[in-house]
Symmetry: C2
Subunit: 371 residues, 2 copies
């Protein structure tokens, strides 16, 4: 094992000498020199696989063939990528797997490799020299699943030694992800630490849940109802019993990305007595890629027929989407319909497809508006 590692390290060191001006992404595991981020944001890959017939990199929906040299080393580059966090796979003779050179992240319903391409202006996503909060893993007993379930809770820097109570944000991952998403891919703690230190966001507790309810129908009506019980009858009481929380709707927010945005729409919006702050990032509920249409009034009774009442129930109603996300046209259409009816909704879009950089930016903005 050690010999192989050494041989690989020497090989990579030799290849490294050929390239200039590249960046090693933070998502690479320590000793791995590849992938590289090149100045044009293309990615360079090197992998030793003498016995393979075809090695590819699959990133953001595009597969790139690597080329094999006489020593069995495969190399190749992708097209320039946009900045941000991208899941990717290595495909070895048709089998899609995580790149051993990368850290792994739970996404697409398996452990995926990913590359994080830094973006100017997004320094709030990084660890900075400011007071840092804690991210805590706890277990609560769910009467919905009849099992102990994990949850991650961010507490701000002042929490540990203080006595204050704090508002709480319940934040939701997308399909094929879990409670790890917002903590690891989403960098929630850095965003909160940096915005709080700059006085741009209120101190708040952030609860990153696993909103998959196994065996209860996933993203169906039944799944939605099961998760509504999970959230309101299990998670919220547990959090409010365990932490120093402000316990009124004004001081609770529900937000999420994609599937989690749908949950915020279907569970959060009709419950102004629980949440007065709702954030929906890149959700497919507005028709999404399939192009189905929805009836806003039917889904959230009163939204259009009693707009004044609906508005009174909310402090912040936030919707966002990536500008290259196929979901954006429907999201805009329905947001326009809401606005035309007098619904107080804030909409913003960010460059990018259905991906984490858009969601980090959405959370970064949402959290500055609430509480």
């Amino acid at each position: 094992m050690k010999k192989i590692l050494l041989a690989t390290a020497l090989l990579l060191a030799a290849m490294t000498a050929r390239s200039q001006d590249y960046t090693i992404p933070v998502t690479n595991i320590n000793q791995h020199g590849y992938p590289h981020i090149m100045p044009d944001l293309s990615l360079q890959f090197v992998m030793r696989a003498p016995d393979a017939n075809l090695v590819q990199v699959d990133i953001c929906g595009v597969k790139y063939d690597l080329s094999k040299d006489e020593k069995g080393v495969w190399t190749g580059s992708t097209a320039p990528q946009v900045p941000g966090f991208h899941y990717y796979s290595i495909v070895i003779d048709g089998v899609s797997v995580a790149d051993p050179a990368s850290e792994s992240f739970y996404g697409c319903s398996r452990m995926m490799s990913a590359i994080d391409i830094p973006e100017a202006g997004c320094e709030d996503f990084e660890v900075k020299d400011v007071p840092h909060g804690q991210v805590r893993e706890l277990r609560y007993y769910s009467k919905v699943t009849n099992s102990w379930r994990p949850v991650f809770v961010y507490t701000p820097a002042s929490y540990e030694s203080g006595k204050k109570t704090y508002p709480v944000i319940y934040i939701h991952h997308g399909g094929g992800e879990d409670h790890r998403g917002w903590v690891e891919q989403g960098r929630t703690a850095n965003i909160m630490d940096n915005l709080i230190a700059a006085g741009k966001a209120k101190e708040a507790i952030v609860v990153s849940v696993n909103s998959n309810v196994p065996g209860r129908g996933g993203y169906s009506k039944e799944g939605m109802s099961a998760y509504a019980s999970e959230l309101t009858e299990n998670i919220i009481p547990f959090i409010e019993k365990t932490f120093r929380c402000k316990k009124d709707a004004k001081n609770r927010a529900m937000c999420g990305l994609s599937m989690g945005g749908g949950q915020s729409f279907y569970i959060g919006l009709p419950r102004p007595e629980v949440f007065r702050n709702i954030g929906i990032f890149s959700s497919g509920i507005f028709g999404g890629i399939q192009g189905q249409s929805i009836d806003l009034e039917k889904e959230v009774p009163g939204m259009l027929s009693n707009t004044q009442g609906f508005n009174k129930g909310l402090d912040v109603f936030y919707i966002s989407c990536g500008e290259q996300d196929p979901r954006i046209s429907h999201t805009k259409k329905y947001t326009d319909q809401m606005k035309a009816a007098g619904v107080k909704v804030y909409f913003n879009s960010f460059p990018g497809d259905h991906e984490w950089q858009v969601w980090r930016k959405s959370f970064h903005e949402f959290v500055q508006k609430i509480f």
Copy 2:
């Protein structure tokens, strides 16, 4: 993507029907039916890879070839395994990667798949219906590496709402692992929760550090000295500033596995003014697989020449090793040498090789002896 997942799910469901009496390990990712643990503790694997020439499973140092059927599905079984947590890889045409069906764990210097085979009598490693502590991720600034570094801190169930101060265990991973090891592979929180609830261990804070010091020589004299500064000048002051700790040597323990056991020997033992409780699990320092010999008195001056003084400096000196670990013969030899000289050392061994089940059992025993 969804179509492939569905096809795979149907395929796996069909194959599942053929097997009987298997267990799905907790380390499998939700929807994946394989690997299976069979009643004789052999493992059954199924993987779709029509274009591959050879698919193997590499577990505990042995490679098993799978067989391909006419549809391109590879199946096969391993020999019966011992219970416990085993890293493994799938080898696709010679490339060793993590199994997409498994959760990933940082080990062997990359993200590895792993299988956890339950063992009767080891229920303390599981989540039980007892008061649960929290595992917190924090960042401290290291003046050794000049960077922010992560650390995991377990606090017992009573910590959150109480005012007590607690003793602290500084626990160390092995080579090719990091601070995640004891939290994820080691199940430290479950072990602490269950032993505390049963009144078998004192309530304590457990600090799981990253004891790799990049660029400072790894497991060399220089690396050891760099990590000694990291621990005593950076980590301990940070922990004692942040948490309600008892701040004397009697209430500090240092322990670790393999490389971390070596660090506990070379850094912990000579500092009785810092740590009066030392645990060394499966360390290679006693000669290990290479069979070098060491001079105990030279490594820890006074251990043999001033045994009484050495003994007075410690409350608990614990050494353990796996019974099938090549390191055991030297570990026993040197422990016998210590005992013959009058050193108060407790030694125990557990069935198993150089692996996590031995380390979980070692920690489980060590923690019942200290404080």
